[in-house]
């Protein structure tokens, strides 16, 4: 049993890049939820050269095609974790295994993909639960936290969760610039002395204003740099220039309503494209976000309210509240180990009023659109990469199992460290 599985993995995995070119795969008999129109009952998908060649109800299966029988099953676009730490961390409390956040406040020149560890055990674990591709972003604090320190942490990368090297994995090396917005905090916890440190409001407010001013200086410098024809290469400004020129969105992490408003104002003044990350108070600024057309990549819905008097279920209802107000809502794990739980973050929002299809699009089509790859990913349409999952039911439901998973048209193993340990110790007498 275990031997067979191992052989299958070898065959499937080594085929990941090479054989996608010539194989033709047909997925037949399943209900296809394309997210580009009505679901197709008993539909067929033909995959050529790693891409979706045909999809429909009456599609002939070419001779010699490898057939995946999806009778009684459902086919969905593979899930996309819009902000993860996949590949950047292995054991969060062990610094030697963590490559999420550099020293220094301004590091726009860094790119997450350069530190992605392709053989991280987290990648197959996430994949086994239907995550086929993910944005991996610098700037996390590790552990269970979503946030991280203030600063420009570098560029986020979009990767497929399969491949021998990051070059094979990368869909797009750079999809956005990560900025953790400063915040005003008078009380902080100092782990070196294990005690609270209280600072005067005037003091932290001044620091806040200084930081915003510094950010503005950086943007000005990048704009000047972009405008110069002859110049010495400056890697930091070169990277930031992509933001001021509109090539890259600024992924701004902010939670407080005050910070969200200020970040929106900053983005507007700078004329840059903004994506709000985490956004715990985003619901308070829903009108502003809708008006300015700023999408939100929400932090986990399964978290506690911010304050004692906030509604117990606010983090769960915020998604539907934002969506109803016209804000584009996207979901993300902001994690590596918990990336696999992404569908349940959405399921919980759907339980509190978010339309199911909006929820599903929030982890497929919408993030693809947001990062400019919707011609490649996000729905089941001709010409797109065949990143697909085949399930025995609603992918947002906990008990649903992923039966097959394809990345770039290649059936990819669902095996992972956890399954291996399970089988190994289950066999112990």
């Amino acid at each position: 049993m275990i031997l067979t599985r191992t052989l299958t993995i070898l065959v499937l995995f080594s085929g990941a890049a090479a054989s996608a070119q010539d194989d033709v795969i047909a997925i037949t008999g399943g209900k296809i939820v394309t997210l580009a129109g009505e679901p197709i009952e008993n539909g067929t998908i033909i995959i050529r050269n790693g891409r979706i060649a045909e999809v429909g109800a009456n599609v002939a299966v070419p001779a010699g095609a490898e057939v995946i029988d999806a009778s009684g099953l459902e086919v969905y676009p593979g899930m996309m974790d819009a902000v993860s730490r996949l590949g950047l961390t292995e054991i969060s409390s062990t610094a030697a295994t963590v490559d999420m956040t550099e020293l220094g406040d301004y590091n726009p020149q860094l790119t997450a993909a350069t530190a992605v560890h392709p053989s991280s055990e987290h990648i197959p674990v996430a994949r086994a639960n239907g995550i086929t591709h993910a944005v991996t972003a610098p700037g996390g604090s590790g552990g269970f936290g979503v946030g991280g320190p203030y600063g420009i942490h570098g560029q986020a990368s979009l990767i497929n969760l399969a491949g021998w090297t990051v070059e094979e994995m990368a869909v797009k090396m750079s999809v956005g610039m990560v900025l953790h917005w400063p915040t005003i905090q008078t009380s902080t916890f100092d782990f070196s002395t294990f005690s609270r440190v209280e600072k005067k409001f005037s003091e932290v407010k001044e620091q806040y204003e200084d930081r915003v001013a510094e950010l503005e200086d950086w943007m000005d410098a990048a704009r000047r740099y972009a405008g110069e024809s002859e110049k010495e290469t400056d890697l930091k400004l070169e990277a930031l220039a992509k933001v001021v020129e509109g090539e890259l969105p600024m992924m701004i992490m902010a939670d407080d309503a005050r910070d969200i408003k200020r970040a929106v104002q900053f983005a507007e003044e700078q004329g840059i494209k903004m994506i709000l990350l985490s956004g715990r108070d985003a619901w308070k600024e829903k009108a502003l976000l809708a008006e300015k057309n700023i999408p939100v990549i929400l932090g986990p819905t399964l978290r506690l309210p911010r304050t004692e008097d906030e509604a117990y279920d606010k983090p769960l209802t915020a998604a539907s509240e934002l969506q109803a107000a016209g804000v584009r809502v996207i979901f993300a794990s902001f994690s590596s180990a918990n990336s696999r739980l992404l569908p349940y973050e959405v399921g919980n929002a759907v339980a509190r009023g978010l339309p199911w299809e909006e929820g599903l699009k929030g982890i497929t089509l919408y993030p693809a659109e947001l990062f400019g790859v919707s011609d490649e990913l996000g729905s089941i349409e001709e010409g797109k990469r065949a990143n697909l999952i085949i399930t025995d039911g609603d992918p947002l439901e906990i008990r649903t199992e992923i039966k097959h998973l394809l990345i770039d048209g290649v059936p990819t193993s669902l095996d992972n460290r956890h399954l291996e340990l399970y089988e190994k110790y289950r066999a112990r007498q």
Binding site: I91, L304, E308, A337, Y344, I398, H418, Y425, R428
Partner: protein, 445 residues
């Protein structure tokens, strides 16, 4: 603003802390009508009624007659399950870790219970009715626990689950060995290795055994009528350990790795007692056979992993695999957030390890009740047991299940609709207060 309105809203401000469960927390005869009853120990009853009197389940059946004056809770189309039991929690306590000493058994959570912690209510809103509030994991032998019911609005005394066997926290592995070490200006504390952790426990029980003998000798001499006896000096560090050896106090031991689990079981056997629960026990699946033989329960997370080295071999199949190998397993939260959806955590074992629905529900109801030795009172829907229920709009093992009402001792402590009303009123009140604030600010300027 008229006076009446003012009084009402002022009352609301107080209510945030005091009675976020509304004024409904009054025990009365109650019939929960027409729900799908997930008894956990006795199958599922569709369209069933539950009659509650004096906080106890009196009758379960169909078409029960409603006694006069009884509160009728319409559960048609809904699912009624036993109140969820969290076997590992740190809410409702002013402090958690007495980490300055390696053995802090003289301390206890009961002394620091905080009945105003909003998490008591938030967890009610996730269907939790009973929690095992544990000391932290800073020391090999930690402080005493407190088992509570989520009687939101009561005082600290009123939270206590009267009659629950007392317990104590132990901790193995990374937490106790790194405690208070490595921080600037803070001296390191023994132990710093797993060898030391086990040694601390063995040393403590060696002392406790001698202490018990002192008292036994004294009692024997007293029984023989010996005069002028001086009793031994009471030792509050060792007394709880003697209670452990006498089966009067349960050990809840934080642990991760298979090797340290085994070491603890053997030390306990050396002193002739049993570990009640292994907590976290993320590698429990590797030594499930030994755990089952020892008779320890296992209380684990559904799927957390990789946050530290000793959690790297954690697998989401752990609960199911240990169950399959004969261990009494529960799922716990260790987190005020995770506690709010333990039903969803249980659902993960359907997929990861293939437990049945009933087995999955048992992980958060009857199994933790057995582990805490309170299964004669709670953990299933049976006649004679406490009227503790969580009512969901759909099957609680679905991601779409939303808690509607939570009942403790036959009193409604959480009602989703009432809460929504209250939230609305709070929003209005806040807007009013902000409005009042405006002119004052302008005047200052």
């Amino acid at each position: 603003m008229n006076v009446k309105r003012f009084v009402w809203t002022a009352g609301l401000v107080a209510s945030v802390r005091v009675i976020a469960g509304g004024g409904a927390a009054v025990a009365q005869t109650m019939v929960i009508r027409g729900g799908t009853i997930l008894t956990v120990t006795n199958g599922t009853m569709v369209n069933g009624d539950i009659l509650v009197e004096d906080g106890k389940i009196v009758e379960i059946g169909t078409n029960l007659s409603v006694p006069e004056g009884a509160l009728v809770i319409d559960a048609r189309g809904q699912f009624v399950m036993p109140g969820i039991i969290d076997a590992h929690s740190h809410i409702a306590a002013e402090s958690i870790n007495e980490g300055s000493v390696a053995v802090s058994s003289m301390t206890g959570i009961e002394d620091v219970l905080d009945p105003t912690d909003i998490n008591i209510y938030r967890e009610l809103a996730g269907g939790v009715t009973t929690s095992n509030i544990l000391h932290g994991s800073a020391n090999p032998i930690g402080g005493k626990n407190a088992v509570i019911k989520h009687r939101w609005g009561s005082d600290a005394e009123g939270l206590l689950f009267k009659g629950a066997l007392p317990g104590i926290k132990f901790a193995l592995g990374e937490n106790p060995k790194r405690s208070r070490g490595g921080r600037r200006g803070v001296p390191r504390r023994y132990p710093a290795t797993r060898m030391g952790v086990i040694d601390v426990i063995r040393e403590a029980f060696t002392k406790a055994r001698a202490y018990r003998k002192e008292w036994q000798d004294y009692e024997a001499q007293k029984a023989h009528g010996q005069a002028d006896l001086v009793p031994p000096r009471r030792d509050f560090e060792l007394e709880p350990l003697v209670e452990i050896m006498e089966g009067k106090r349960l050990v809840h031991a934080h642990c991760y790795r298979a090797d340290e689990i085994l070491q603890l079981l053997r030390v306990a056997e050396e002193f002739d007692f049993r570990i009640a629960t292994l907590q976290h026990v993320l590698e429990g699946y590797k030594v499930a056979k030994e755990i089952a033989e020892h008779g320890a329960g296992a209380s684990t997370f559904s799927d957390w992993w990789a946050y530290k080295m000793e959690a790297y071999d954690a697998i989401p199949y752990n609960a199911a695999l240990m169950t399959e190998k004969g261990v009494l397993v529960s799922l716990n939260s260790d987190s005020a957030e995770e506690a709010r959806h333990l039903n969803q955590e249980a659902a993960k074992t359907l997929k990861w390890g293939g437990l049945s629905e009933e087995q999955a529900l048992a992980l958060i109801t009857i199994n933790p009740a057995k582990q805490l030795r309170i299964d004669d009172r709670v953990g299933s829907i049976e006649v004679g047991k406490d009227a503790d229920f969580a009512i969901f709009d759909t099957h609680p093992l679905s991601v779409y299940a939303v808690p509607q009402k939570t009942i403790v001792d036959g009193k409604v402590y959480f009602d989703r609709e009432e809460d929504a009303e209250r939230q609305k009123a709070l929003v209005e009140e806040r807007a009013e207060l902000l409005e009042k604030l405006k002119p004052a600010t302008e005047e200052k300027q």
